[in-house]
Amino acid sequence: MRMVLAWVTGMGAAFLLAPAVYANGWNMPVGVTEISQDIYSLHMAIFWICVVIGVVVFAVMFYSLFRYRRSQGAKADNFHENTTVEVLWTTIPLLILVGMALPATATLQKMYDPSGADLDVMVTGQQWRWHYEYLDEDISFTSSMSTPGTQIRGEEERADEYLLDVDNPLVLPVDQKVRFLLTSDDVIHSWWVPDLAVKQDAIPGFVNENWVRIEEPGIYRGQCTELCGKDHAFMPVVVHAMEQDDYEEWLADRKEEAEAEANSVDREWEMDELMERGEQVYGSVCATCHQDDGSGSGEFPALAGNEEMLDDVDWHIDAVVNGVSGTPMAAFGGNLNAVELASVITYERNAWDNDTGDVVQPSEIQELLE
């Protein structure tokens, strides 16, 4: 019997503690959008309904366990079946459910209305990074995790933003309705930022919709939530929400950069420039599979000392631009621009003692792409 008592106290404590713990920031974030706040309220409402039902049911249960112990001489009654009670405990829960379903339906209807968006962003999942394209602005970039492997392996102290930091965050204006169009180039991913209450699968062959109107400037972090292969844990989402002015400034800078890069396609690039840019691209896009030192792993071939690749530049260019069909090696011609492609190929041909001395010019690649 002591055990039952211990149990009652234990469970009671758990129930009392649970909300206290909730209050300490272990709960679902309230978030920074109207929808995220609605969802939070729904979540708390259903939570408290469950707590109340739980308290009532467990109170009756533990009272019975305590009161009707045979060791205390309890004699068993023989009653069973009682239509009134049975009708009551079917209909009351039904009414509670209807009470829950109404606000849930209303919120869902709001979530499903992406009309009147001020800005459209195409989000593409790729093993294992996100590609963002501002549809009306002609800007696109990839966003991959910037936490170094040394932190993951514990060779260096872990930063506060461990696993939740990227090289290029998605930048969005506050107080604007932003519509996301989500798809994937390979397997299913899922784009999630808890503070924005946006979670939507990115599925190859489909374009899904979701939207957000952020109310406060800030940096909001999330992760891919659909198992997408080995680096599923290393595919963070970072959204940087800015005031309209700052956003426009950022936009202008980005455009200028893009334009400068586009204009530079035709000029002759130096080896050093290409190597520098190539290392960046390689680290952000290729290293998840081929490793930082080009040594590969498992099904991902080593590029350092890869004879087939080093013997034949055209083959190398073809592999990167058009991909290797039927393998995880994607066609990067659609994602990276001529400068990025030329520089990453040049980098691969000269890094890690590959030292071929080959220089692939952006103009060559541009011709291929056209």
């Binding site: 679902m28 069973h80 079946e81």
Partner: protein, 550 residues
């Protein structure tokens, strides 16, 4: 409910078979197969039941070791013990082994042992098929486990094996995985057919459907679910097989296929599968609670109807696993409402158990402890299930540790505790000895502590934003994960006590009479303990008895 007698000729037939069987059995004891052959060739429902239970137990430990690898890696942030590729193999194999290798076969084992005893039948209706169904399992799971040693490793795409991760991007061993799942599926279907045939045809004279113990009822309904959905699973894995090996593109968007179709098919199987793993548990708890409260189950008929309602609803809720896939509003609403509706019959069950306790005369032997813990923790799992049904909130919960917490609450202190409760309850019948009460209590309390330490913090890590199926996590999840890992090891290690209890109980212990628990009323308690190899060769005649349950 009109009295419905089982057709008389069936009974004569079955008793004729047993007389013949008995003659054979006589040989069997002396000149017949012995040693390994006895187990390979047995057609006796008790021996096959034992085989199923031992198989399930070994899978429970293998699947448990995989879970502990996962928990060990997650003990701290960073990658310490395993690489992400292997981590994914461990989560996948843990899920597959526990669902298909541990929980399902455990229930089939209990069905084999207990259904003939509870309906007064001499054996299962199709004893040779029964042998075949069992021996398919070691083949299936031997094959599945062998993939760990294949180039490219074992399946690594989660137990839900979503395409195209499992098709275009899966390891070469995926084809073996498909084959092993096919074999396990055939085993399940054959087992289900056998159970249905036994229940419908072999009840003792005078036992009407509405006189059957609830374990029999829940298994009857479960068996129909199995027959309905295992072919869907077989279909979907065959489509995968074709995509991988024969150039089709059912699920490959590049070839005009549809990855979302995969999920619809998978969950059309997968949701009823969830109830396949819980309905028989309801049956076990509905036997144990009245036995130790010494009071009839409060609402027998409403329990039967609630079980049937849950089974029917289980075909109408599969999309609640896919709320963020991008389905139309109307679909989301429909499946939210149907999912919420399931809370009603489930609530009826819990209310019935609690009311059964009210004004009883209660004792707390180990089976009762596990059954009571089942009621409490299954209800907690039910609550989080209700929360997950609220679609807008599910946009936040989906694919996080909140979901992991939810389904482990219904499966571990739910299904697994019910199986353990059933084992403690029926061990006196199986072995003739009571299980050691002191060890049993230790096993119980350590399990309860371990389970809650493991899975309760997962609610928090999930709400705080931790996705499931990741080998490494952000720093704010570190404390929750450390507690979960400690709990996981406590739970895992304390299951060794269960082995100790089992061995001790087989070897000796306090002798149990035919009716081992004074409040237990079903037919199995009328045969001696341990139950002899052959029971009810002459069916018990219940026609003269007052109806048992109304």
């Amino acid at each position: 409910m009109a009295p419905k007698l089982p057709p008389q000729h069936t009974l004569e037939q079955s008793s004729a078979t047993t007389t013949a069987g008995q003659a054979q059995e006589h040989d069997h004891h002396h000149g017949g197969p012995t040693g390994i052959k006895r187990w390979l060739l047995t057609t006796n429902h008790k021996e096959i039941g034992t085989l199923y239970l031992l198989f399930s137990l070994s899978m429970f430990f293998i699947g448990g070791i995989f879970a502990l690898v996962v928990r060990a890696e997650l003990f701290q942030p960073g990658l310490q013990l395993v690489e992400p590729e292997f981590f994914n193999q461990m989560t996948t194999m843990h899920g597959l082994i526990m669902v298909f290798g541990a929980v399902m076969p455990a229930f089939v084992g209990l069905a084999n042992w207990m259904i003939p005893l509870q309906v007064g039948a001499p054996d299962m209706a199709l004893p040779r098929l029964n042998n075949f169904s069992f021996w398919l399992l070691p083949v299936a799971f031997g094959l599945l486990l062998s993939t760990l040693f294949m180039p490219g490793g074992a399946p690594n795409f989660g137990w839900t094996f979503y395409a195209p991760l499992s098709t275009d991007y899966g390891p070469p061993s995926t084809t073996f995985f498909i084959f092993s799942l096919h074999i396990a599926g055939i085993s399940s279907i054959l087992g289900a057919i056998n159970i249905i045939a036994t229940i419908l045809n072999m009840r003792a004279p005078g036992m009407r459907m509405m006189d059957m113990p609830l374990f029999v009822w829940t298994w009857l309904i479960t068996a129909f679910l199995l027959i309905a959905v295992m072919p869907v699973l077989a279909g979907v894995i065959t489509m995968m097989l074709m995509d991988i090996n024969f150039g089709t593109s059912f699920f490959d968007a590049g070839g005009g296929g549809d990855p979302v179709l995969f999920q619809h098919l998978f969950w059309f199987f997968g949701h009823p599968e969830v109830y396949i793993m819980i309905l028989p548990a309801f049956g076990i708890v509905s036997a144990i609670v009245p036995a130790f409260a010494r009071k009839p189950l409060f609402g027998y008929a409403s329990m039967v109807y609630a079980t049937a309602s849950i089974a029917i609803l289980s075909f109408l809720v599969w999309v609640h696993h896919m709320f963020v896939v991008g389905l139309p509003l109307a679909a989301e609403l429909f499946f939210m409402y149907t999912t919420m509706l399931i809370a009603v019959p489930t609530g009826v069950k819990v209310f019935n158990w609690v009311t059964t306790l009210f004004r009883g005369s209660i004792t707390f032997e180990t089976p009762m402890l596990f059954a009571l813990a089942f009621i409490v923790m299954f209800t907690i799992g039910g609550f989080s299930g209700l929360m997950l049904a609220i679609v807008p909130a599910d946009f936040q919960y989906h694919d996080t540790y909140f979901v992991v917490a939810h389904f482990h609450y219904v499966l571990v202190p739910g299904a697994v505790f019910a199986i353990i409760a059933g084992a403690y309850y029926w061990l006196p019948k199986w072995t003739g000895h009571y299980p050691d009460e002191r060890l049993g209590r230790w096993h119980f309390w350590l399990s309860v502590i371990g389970v809650n330490l493991t899975f309760f913090p997962m609610h928090f890590s999930g709400l705080a934003g931790m996705p499931r199926r990741i080998p490494d996590y952000a720093l704010q999840f570190a404390d929750f994960n450390m507690v979960s890992s400690i709990g996981g090891f406590i739970f895992g290690v304390s299951q060794l006590l269960f082995i100790a209890v089992l061995i001790k109980c087989v070897r000796g212990g306090e002798k149990a009479p035919a009716k081992a628990w004074d409040g237990a009323e079903d037919l199995e308690w009328t045969v001696p303990s341990p139950a002899p190899l052959h029971t009810f060769e002459t069916p018990p005649d219940l026609t003269s008895q007052a109806p048992q349950r109304h």
